[in-house]
Symmetry: C2
Subunit: 361 residues, 2 copies
Amino acid sequence: MTSFSVTADDMDAIALGGAFLGTGGGGDPYIGKLMAKQVIARHGPVNVVSADELPDDALCIPVCMMGAPTVMVEKLPNGEEAREALSQLETFLGRKADALICIEAGGLNSTIPYAVAAATGLPLVDGDGMGRAFPELQMVTLTIHGVSATPMVLADDKGNSSVINAISNRWTERLARCQTVEMGGAALVALYPMSGAEVKRSILHGTMSLIKEIGETMAAERKASRNPAAALLKRLDGKRLFTGRVVDIDRRTVGGFARGKALFKGIDEDEGRSFEVEFQNEFLVCRDDDGLLAVTPDLICALDADGGLPVTTEQLRYGLAVNMIGLACDPQWSTPEGLELVGPRYFGYEHDYVPLNQMSR
Amino acid sequence: MTSFSVTADDMDAIALGGAFLGTGGGGDPYIGKLMAKQVIARHGPVNVVSADELPDDALCIPVCMMGAPTVMVEKLPNGEEAREALSQLETFLGRKADALICIEAGGLNSTIPYAVAAATGLPLVDGDGMGRAFPELQMVTLTIHGVSATPMVLADDKGNSSVINAISNRWTERLARCQTVEMGGAALVALYPMSGAEVKRSILHGTMSLIKEIGETMAAERKASRNPAAALLKRLDGKRLFTGRVVDIDRRTVGGFARGKALFKGIDEDEGRSFEVEFQNEFLVCRDDDGLLAVTPDLICALDADGGLPVTTEQLRYGLAVNMIGLACDPQWSTPEGLELVGPRYFGYEHDYVPLNQMSR
């Protein structure tokens, strides 16, 4: 399909699908759903368009929330701050946006663009910058293609804002992260203003369709009283990593990020084995007693083993049983340029990237 | 005098006078002098004008360096980043500045506005926002008069910059301070854009004349092989606090500030007594064994007891002999509003402000 309309009712599925691809980060699907539903109910459905439909000189702007998920679930965005960030960026650029884009998959960050699209009447591009969630703002395929994150606007719930212009996307991350921390740990941002031509060659295409489809699959399976894990594994050509119960979790908010490690005891067919998952906002590394099972930039997605809902790093708690699923990342991420941005060594792990389908087990 | 011209040669005196009133902060006079001399030699003298001469609708912009003095003496500004900050603020406001202002007294921060004034050909207003130096950006009489610090631009030496819009001057300080730290500990800034009418009612008048006169007095005394302390005490109706030698110094850079405490052993007429001075970029509290001698917002100014040059907190080192001089602050600072901004309790000291002339000793 080249373009489709998204209603308030669709947001249930979109928030679920976004949270699944969000690999533990990108915000809480429940909050994202409520916020977007409210805005769409008031302003009407959102038109999602293929990037190919954009004129090359269209101005396209991603909007999202930046911050530690720990805080993103406590500071509820109402969609207004995101509009404010967008509006300030438009003022700075002296031009109105022609379309909005989603920067990452996530329960909140895949729904915020719908809320802003509904409120402004702008179309939303069917794609995103990650195909999953990552913790830092330079971690988008746009960086690989030389698109600048700035000018970027941050806005908080109190009325503070800033416009950053930086010499690199890493510098933008540094200058925006420290202000996000000062703003209370989360800020609404508009960044990576792009032309239609840049959108076409730089984004990951079809992410919004995929998110919706994943969410609809999850909803259908849950309605039929089945855990969606099996259907998702099949649809996404995924790899079952493990089924286990959280036995220990170490979590801290450092420099604006939620970092930590969770230990799992295998259950069902994994009885007797143990597992660990390390995260920084998102799940980044999954191991069992014998070594690596999956590693960034491949996706490590968690589903509640009972209810079948996506589990964010914030929702991990002692005793929770999860199905861990691995998905191959977009081919752009496994290039040398991609791995320099989001490979295991960037995050401080002492091993190279091993693609999911080349893992020994 | 209502207006006067400042040449490259005048910068020797201005850097010295600024550093003296800078109460240990505001940057190094040697660096400030070199930078401003170079720019004035290239572009010609600076016209310093009385605030009363400004049209009420003139746009007046203060420019200065923000950061820990520890860093300000290592990252040498060349005047270009300050022009860049000014130019970006002008672009954001959609209007060119009509005059520049100095935000605080200091060896560097009283000379940077001259460099930018020379390079742009703009007049410099005879006044400043503090009548001394203070560590945080909301600590200006402009805050008392309700002038907003934003829009504010920060620019670093690498080419990064940002424009902040905040709901209060305290919030501006927070959002600018964290970026200053990220930018390497110091940034050039343009802030508090004001109308001529706001300048007239909000600034401290005559500071640039006073700085020049203090510097000229110091130079004349030094030329006559006299320590300037006596002449300055007389001219400024100051109070001799002590003469002592540094016996211990504890200094650390915390959150972008140089904080610490220096202990002194009295010498000459203070033989047998001991003293301590606490600082946060600037000297804030001076005590002897029996208690308080001087406290913020009154000025605590240090002169090298041998050479007679101003001593910044960064230059304090074991064995250095200094003359400590207290000066009464501007009456605006001893009002309840002033003390809320810059009184001892704001800085975490457990005592109230006692004016210099009401100290028991």
